[in-house]
Amino acid sequence: MFSFLEIPGYLIKPLTAGFLTGISCSLVGVFIVTTHLSFLGICIAHSAFTGALLGIWLNFNPTLGALIFSLIASAIVGPLADRGELSPDTSTGIVFSTMLGLAFLIIGLIPGSKSSAMNLFWGNILTVSYTDILLLAIVTIFLIGIFTFLYKEIQAVLCHRNIAIAVGIPSALIFYLMLIATGVSIAVSLQTVGGLLIYSLLLNPSASAYQLTYKFKTMILLSISFGVMSCWGGIWVSYKFNLPTGACIILTSSIIFILCSIFSPKKDKKFKDQNND
């Protein structure tokens, strides 16, 4: 398959970007999936998208716009999710739809050709720049740092908010740190992978890993591997068969998810538990 000598030069940058995005998105995905905050992740991703559009419209850096908007969304929805008692879905949905409305409004307001706006939907991993890669690298290292340094704290917060609180971990701080990390990694990946692709990279690799293991460390490592596999596999398929790269990456991650669900050891177990409780 992939012998290094066969890779054409112009694929090196996309593959590097895919590697970094695969790691960073699936790392924050572990947080989003285990805390059952998938919708919140999608909401933040969407807000980032709206922020980037605003950047295009008003002529400032779209990544900056994405960053600001995803942080605003985290600041609005975070406190609601942090209460932990009410499901944050309704309020998240309201923020989500508001951002969607804003996005379409801005697309309408952008004068002339809308192609740069449309590119944001799908991103463009094939034309990724060195600056983008540098940003991605910084964020990825930052995330790996957080997960290594705050491993036990993150595990406590994921396990149960009340447990984290009771043992004296700054649970709220960790929770918001993870939300901010989610926003930042979405913002820097947006230009590369696009507003639609980012959902699948956030959710699929970690959801796949969640199906397979009961060990937190294994889940993190599996999730990262699935993220990178999706990106690389997608790029390779799109290069071989001349298909749209974004779509190939999404579908690869979905296929991994389907396979993991089929072979999940947790499948019949879940059914038993429902009977017990």
Binding site: H36, A166, V167
Partner: protein, 254 residues
């Protein structure tokens, strides 16, 4: 007596606008073992949560070691071990029993510091003592409710905190395990002179080290005194407000 470890003054706690604790004041002291009794919904859990700073305090205040509690003040909470009444844990969570008990050391260890060998040994000891050492590698969602309850008690015990709050810790345990937990808790008081607050409905199995009983009714203290005064049928009947079936037999042992 010396200065109180926990001070509660005119505490009013609300859930979504609904007042639950209604102007409660009391103090808890070093080396004091308090048992809280009261009917369902009288506010026992809410009182414990208020001490942890987890409830919305509408007015009044709670001070632990002289400091006001608050949701964001986590350093105080390292000195309060807490066994909650229910833990609704997702059975698919990627965490083993041993790791979940180790979390009790997480706060004590401090942010970003890995567990030490000492932490792991402590966990092993307690797991063995509670008879769940063989489950250490099992995912937390894959054990029985009582076994999970033991893990949650173990987590509180390894924290080695000067304050221990326990909300019906033995409610789902078999008789053997109940006795073991009670003996551990009694020992703890002897060894470390903890401030312990223990919520229970098990009138027959009150911890022998208990030196104070608080009876809660409708969000406030209804009676507060030592066990000899308060543990009698008439008071209990009045507290739980039921027909006499509820308390008569259970008190025989005392």
């Amino acid at each position: 007596m010396d200065s109180p470890i926990i001070e509660i003054k005119d505490l009013v706690t609300t859930y979504y606008g609904n007042t639950v604790i209604k102007g409660l004041s009391t103090n808890f002291y070093h080396n004091q073992f308090t048992v809280i009794l009261g009917p369902n919904g009288s506010g026992k859990t809410t009182l414990l949560k208020s001490i942890l700073g987890l409830c919305n305090i509408a007015s009044g205040e709670v001070k632990v070691f002289g400091e006001k509690v608050h949701k964001w003040k986590y350093k105080i909470r390292r000195r309060i071990a807490y066994v909650s009444q229910v833990e609704n844990i997702d059975p698919r969570l990627p965490i083993t029993i041993e790791e979940s008990v180790l979390l009790g050391r997480a706060g004590v260890r401090g942010l970003g510091k890995p567990y030490t060998k000492n932490d792991r040994e402590l966990v092993t000891q307690i797991l063995e003592r509670l008879g769940i050492a063989h489950l250490r590698e099992k995912p937390i969602g894959k054990v029985s409710g009582g076994e999970r309850q033991k893990a949650s008690i173990a987590r509180a015990l390894v924290q080695e905190a000067p304050i221990i709050l326990m909300d019906e810790p033995t409610a789902s345990l078999d008789p053997n395990a109940q006795l073991e937990i009670l003996s551990i808790i009694n020992n703890l008081k002897e060894l470390h002179k903890n401030t312990t607050i223990y919520v229970t409905h098990e009138l027959a199995e009150l911890p022998e080290k208990c030196d104070r009983i608080i009876m809660l009714k409708d969000g406030n203290i209804w009676r507060d005194g030592n066990p000899e005064e308060l543990l009698n049928e008439d008071l209990l009947l009045e507290l739980y407000g039921g027909s006499d079936f509820c308390c008569r037999d259970r008190l025989k042992h005392h």
